[in-house]
């Protein structure tokens, strides 16, 4: 149904529709949860009902920062997945599977051991970790034989190695802080708070930059020489996109640990519905990725009868089977 529309009409339509989805997800995220009564929370949001200090704290102090963090992380991870899939020409590429998230986590933990603060020290060490892994994975996948599978296998191995390093660091460390970060292995959004602000500020320019490079990315998909002949500065665009995507991912990992498969699920579903034009996919990935993680987090904190579970469990339960289906279709 979107095939024949000119791109600006498609862009506006998609942005409006997914924008509404995001608003709905945010409202749901604010009003539902394990504590409190959601009808009362709706009343509170609509400005009706008696003012209730406890409810106000739950909605605005607990849930709101968490919803904002989930939205940002979800948007960044799905956009990151989209960029890696297009640049590496591999539909299964994704920050978590490629090990880029794992590299960021190792960088972040080393930063914590070194005693850095969250911003900018931790963000930088995490960014360095993601770039190092990206470089390693690209080198591993660059071998002629194996092609796309070599890239994925390399990524999975790097990821496993990073996981081992994280566990090693946690077990030998005596720092109380580090012992708490077991959540890094199983992405979790409970760390939400005012510290999330620099993260937000950091990913917004990344979103804009990737949106501006969406059409060059489309052209790149028709071949490097073909794109270059149409006026795309191929090395500059490729490098900018890889670095921007890694930066985005590492900023989210600092706050939420390893949340997998968001970057696989969302871009795939969207590409199926909207087609491959990245000028439409970029805003779509941002809005749908944000909505998706808000809803996954809602499940994570309301499903268990006591306490909550890590959001990474929910995304992996949805994403891992999808990965298998896609892998099977690729092989056929």
């Amino acid at each position: 149904m979107f095939g024949t529309l000119p791109v600006y009409r498609k862009l506006v339509t998609v942005t409006l529709m997914l924008g509404l989805l995001l608003i709905a997800a945010i409202l749901l995220g604010l009003t539902s949860g394990s504590s409190g009564d959601s009808a009362a929370a709706w009343q509170h949001l609509l400005g009706r009902g008696a003012s209730d200090a406890t409810l106000e704290t739950i909605v605005w102090q607990l849930r709101w920062p968490r919803v904002v963090l989930a939205a940002t992380v979800g948007a960044a991870l799905s956009l990151g997945g989209m960029v890696f899939q297009a640049l590496l020409r591999n539909p299964l590429a994704e920050p978590y599977i490629l090990g880029v998230s794992g590299g960021s986590a190792v960088g972040a933990i080393l930063g914590i051991l070194a005693g850095y603060s969250l911003f900018p020290g931790l963000a930088l060490s995490s960014f360095a970790g993601s770039l190092a892994v990206l470089l390693l994975v690209l080198l591993l996948g660059n071998r002629r034989e194996g092609g796309g599978d070599a890239l994925l296998l390399g990524g999975v191995m790097v990821n496993a190695f990073c996981g081992a390093i994280i566990m090693f660091l946690i077990s030998v460390s005596k720092t109380v802080q580090v012992q708490k970060i077991i959540f890094w292995l199983m992405g979790d959004l409970s760390a939400a708070g005012t510290a999330s602000l620099p993260l937000l500020l950091g990913v917004l320019p990344c979103f804009l930059l990737i949106f501006l490079l969406a059409q060059p990315l489309n052209l790149l998909l028709t071949g490097r020489e073909s794109a270059s002949a149409m006026g795309v500065n191929v090395p500059a665009v490729t490098l900018t996109l890889l670095v921007t995507a890694s930066l985005m991912v590492s900023l989210t990992v600092c706050h939420s640990g390893l949340i997998g498969f968001v970057g696989l699920t969302i871009p795939h579903v969207l590409r199926l519905i909207l087609g491959p034009d990245h000028r439409v996919l970029v805003p779509a990935c941002i809005l749908a990725g944000a909505s998706y993680l808000i809803l996954c987090d809602l499940l994570a904190r309301s499903l268990p009868s006591q306490g909550e579970m890590a959001v990474g469990i929910v995304t992996a339960l949805v994403g891992a089977p999808l990965f298998v289906v896609l892998l099977w279709r690729e092989r056929r």
């Binding site: 862009l11 059409q215 028709t222 149409m230 491959p276």
Partner: protein, 272 residues
């Protein structure tokens, strides 16, 4: 003044020199073909013309301006390349692919206007792929895909069209269709066409002038009648090729002579 002006151009692949001191002028509206045996440096020369391969020595000027002075998008507005192969891995439609040709004309946001859409429609009409507009590139036959890529190049609205073996792997009907398309384009828009080809007969039929390249060196430049002679071709290609006249068109016609027959001809010649 020539539209394209090459002065002592040398090109390298790593340490290996593949094009040596080629000097050449191509005029506005000309149909120019580059021929020569495999590994002669034809495609590399075409890539250098499109700004994709760095110059080792010499200069290439387009409208008297060195090619290195052009910004990437600016160069893409002056010349369009139809590469031998285009990736069809990601499922872009024909219309989306053709519209990509507008990229060098678009601003920062790269969103096409109504006029861009109209230009794409005209280009698809011209290359007879309008009925395929909604189809995915991967679903098309080789000939259809080639016409889509040519439509994209036309949509780019450049005055110079560079073609890298546009008829390779096409059947005769599709070869003629592509070449006739080029011929019409040249007459309608005064577009200059530079084509690399292995098909000597197509080159003889359509090109105004030919460049015969061997081992990176210019063997001969000129009209088909001067370049395509039995002696010249047999020597450059290292096999026996006989040239006679096309019975209807009067253009040179190149005939392949197998080894056995060539030996017999040589014997006859010696015995005379």
């Amino acid at each position: 003044m020539s539209l394209i002006d090459l002065r002592a151009v040398s090109l390298q692949y790593g340490p290996r020199q593949v094009v040596r001191r080629v000097s050449l002028q191509i005029e506005q509206g000309e149909f120019f073909a580059i021929i020569g045996p495999n590994g002669a440096g034809k495609t590399t020369l075409l890539k250098a013309l499109s700004g994709l391969h760095p110059l080792h020595e010499g200069t290439i000027r387009i409208r008297q301006r060195p090619i290195d002075d052009y910004a990437k998008k600016e160069l893409a507005r002056s010349l369009a390349l139809v590469p031998q192969q285009v990736d069809a891995g990601f499922p872009f439609t024909v219309a989306e692919t053709v519209l990509m040709g507008r990229y060098p004309h678009l601003g920062l946001l790269a969103v096409e206007s109504k006029r861009d859409l109209e230009l794409a429609r005209q280009a698809m009409e011209f290359t007879e792929v309008l009925h395929l507009a909604g189809r995915r590139l991967g679903q098309l036959s080789g000939g259809e895909r080639q016409r889509v890529i040519i439509a994209r190049a036309i949509c780019q609205q450049s005055q110079i069209l560079l073609l890298d073996e546009p008829t390779a792997s096409l059947d005769p009907a599709h070869q003629l269709r592509i070449m006739d398309l080029m011929e019409r384009l040249r007459h309608r828009e005064q577009v200059t066409i530079v084509m690399v080809s292995h098909d000597l007969n197509l080159a003889a039929t359509y090109a105004d002038r030919l460049l015969l390249l061997k081992d990176g060196l210019v063997e001969k430049v000129g009209p088909p009648r001067e370049v395509l002679t039995s002696e010249q071709l047999s020597q450059s290609y290292g096999c026996t090729l006989m040239v006679d006249d096309h019975p209807q068109l009067g253009t040179p016609r190149v005939n392949l002579v197998p080894e056995k027959a060539a030996a017999a001809i040589n014997r006859d010649r010696e015995s005379l």
